[in-house]
Amino acid sequence: MGESLLAQAFVYLLAAVAAVPIAKRLGLGSVLGYLLAGVAIGPFGLHLAGDAGEVMHFAEFGVVMMLFLVGLELRPARLWAMRGPVLGVGGLQVGLTALAVGAIGLAFGYDWRMALAAGLILAMSSTAIALQILAERGLLKTGGGETTFAVLLFQDVSVIPILTVLPLLAFTAATGGAAHHEGWITTLPPWGQAIAVLGAVAAVVFGGRLLTRPVFRLIAETRLREVFTASALLLVVGIALLMEAVGLSPALGAFLGGVVLADSEFRHELEGDIEPFKGLLLGLFFLSVGAGIDFAQVAAAPLTVAGLVVLLVLVKAAVLAGLGLAARRPRTEVLLTALVLSQGGEFAFVLLAFATQNGVLPAAEASLLVSVVALSMTVTPLLMMAYGRLADRLADADLPPEPDAIEPQGSVIIAGFGRFGQIVGRLLMAQGHPVTVLDHDMETIEALRRFGFRVFYGDASRLDLLQAAGAAEAALVVVATDAPETTLSIIGTVRRHFPQAKVLARAIDRVHAYAVMEAGADAMVRETFGSALELGVEALRRLGLPAYEAERAGRLFRRHDLRTLHRLAALRGDDGRYSLAVREASKQLVGVLERDQARGRVTIDEGWDTSGLVEEVRRQTAEG
């Protein structure tokens, strides 16, 4: 058993390690890489994977972890602010998709109950695929990304009522097999069930609020890293079990647990501990979806399956596109939401099994739908490959016309127009320099164009986009993106292809600053240094130092720190890659503190110091 488990682990890991880098290199994204690798090791490929269904059941826990992490990023107040889109877009998406699919089912001559059940089941989209794709492309925080998340959240919630409703749609008696969520809870009367559900939710909320902190603090004091990791896992697993016991979705429970802990001081540690498990399990999940596609069934009726996949994707995308357009959202945003949510979800697998057991759907139809859902998952990454180009074209058509080209001499390109890039851009515009902005938030872009900025939509590390923005003639490229690796890749691209442009870059921290310099930036500024220094000067003033002296102390400190930055470059490891160099940060801090100490306490700087002069005059008076 142990050996076969290891052998299985070896096969899955090997598939992932081999396929994902290749897929990424080819621009296919990791999700498609996993899916294809899954097909390759599955029963219709190399026949290496064991029971893919078993693996999938285990790997679904990755989705639970993903939702926990998403919850950690979302403070309760923020979640409350999202209630509108969640209930509005989410509710309409599930309702309308279910009705549309149901109508198609009716048209094919199925009983209305079966059609409606299929509609409800197929209305679900894949949280794993959608969020993974958005995260990989840095689109989570855009308008489209948030809408997508709102819809997924509603779908997660709606699984519970769907599980309740499905048995009512049964056209034959339940086939006797154990219902999916059967447990002690079903033995309770309805009001008892309600109390149990409420109790479980309250346990997560209040337990998370009151208990986790002291417990985590105790564990953190043991300074045993693995115990902390274990307790983080324990927390997620525990919540999942509790939710399952009362018939709620474990993913939803984990999400709730995450939100409750979003304010806790252990948030980052929890994130760091759960993240790798989530990544591995999600990968495993995608692999098992790939391996689980029943190609025998597909081969038996290829046209039916293909037709159903196309139909499913079209209907789901059309409903979302219709909702988006009706709400007058920007068209690139609508396109993103429609494409990224166009597949069937992992909940569909669960719900289909549940529906078969409860006599809602015949086994043949259910297994056909399982294949359709799995295949529709593989379609999404393909659609997303087309998304970039389509979005560019839509953005061009949508936006107000570009302002007349100003004399391009001395023109500046700013990549990334968030909190940082905006300040740089406004200063330059105020001085009358033509500024071209690259960003991927449609709402910002529309506003900017109205105020006379030239704006291009898209990923600034793409060569063709930089070219379109006029990088070949630009005097300056300001890289103000907030993702460290993206910043480095843009600097590299500009250096290689547009050597005439000077590159100014935003560095995240000391370690990133070195990477930025090595990547070839002509100048860089650490994003928080200036403002932290300003606050330090303010602190000195509050402590009674006169304004000018405090200001000067700040400036002298800045000079000292910049010199330290350059001298400590020698402390760097040989490997310049930022992501691998983060551990260096603490080594750097030690070096910095040592140099601060060597500099001594600067009580009064030498400027305007007259003590020497006073003493000399005194001596002269004494002698004279």
């Binding site: 000067r552 400036r555 000079r559 030498e606 400027g607 305007w608 007259t610 020497g612 000399e616």
Partner: protein, 181 residues
């Protein structure tokens, strides 16, 4: 051995300068002259005293080149004096680092020469207004050279300006070659 010349340039808006730009361009052509633009080096007025003192030690003739603002220099040159000419370095019992070096003021004034006559608007000549610099040179045991003065720059025609610039360059060349005892 040729004298090493350091020109400390102080003009806050070089883009709007015409006279100083011409003088600077002329000085740049002279071999052995080091130009040091103070506003460019210290946009935050945070003068690096050590570096400036080291620079002074490396040169024999120091030139203050600037427009006349309110009968004196632009602010940064005053800040430079306050901080760099420290007691114990430039003056005082131990302060002999600059002894024997020469100091030249090269200034441009918008008003014409008549405005600086006894009957003119300013009542005193520019030589008089430059007394604080002369006194500074004396306290630092430096030799005070007759100042290079360019009057009436507001109305100066380009050819005349260029002629004066050439004179300035010639003066710097002379200073480079002659070692005065």
């Amino acid at each position: 051995m040729p004298q090493r010349i350091l020109v400390l340039l102080a003009h806050p808006v070089r883009r709007r300068s015409r006279a100083n730009a011409a003088l600077t361009a002329a000085a740049r052509q002279v071999d052995g002259v080091r130009l040091h633009d103070l506003y460019e080096a210290y946009p935050d007025f945070l003068i690096d005293v050590e570096a400036e003192q080291a620079l002074l030690l490396e040169h024999d003739v120091i030139v203050f080149q600037h427009p006349v603002y309110w009968y004196s220099s632009p602010a940064i040159l005053k800040e430079w004096q306050d901080l760099v000419l420290e007691h114990g370095f430039a003056f005082g019992r131990e302060g002999t680092a600059l002894a024997g070096k020469s100091l030249l003021s090269a200034v441009t004034a918008g008003g014409g020469e008549a405005a600086y006559g006894p009957e003119g608007m300013n009542r005193h000549s520019l030589e008089e207004f430059l007394r604080p610099f002369e006194a500074t040179a004396r306290l630092c045991r430096m030799r005070w050279l007759p100042p290079f003065i360019l009057h009436g720059t507001y109305l100066l025609e380009q050819p005349t300006l260029e002629r004066h610039a050439a004179e300035y360059a010639a003066l710097l060349e002379r200073l480079r070659e002659t070692v005065e005892a």
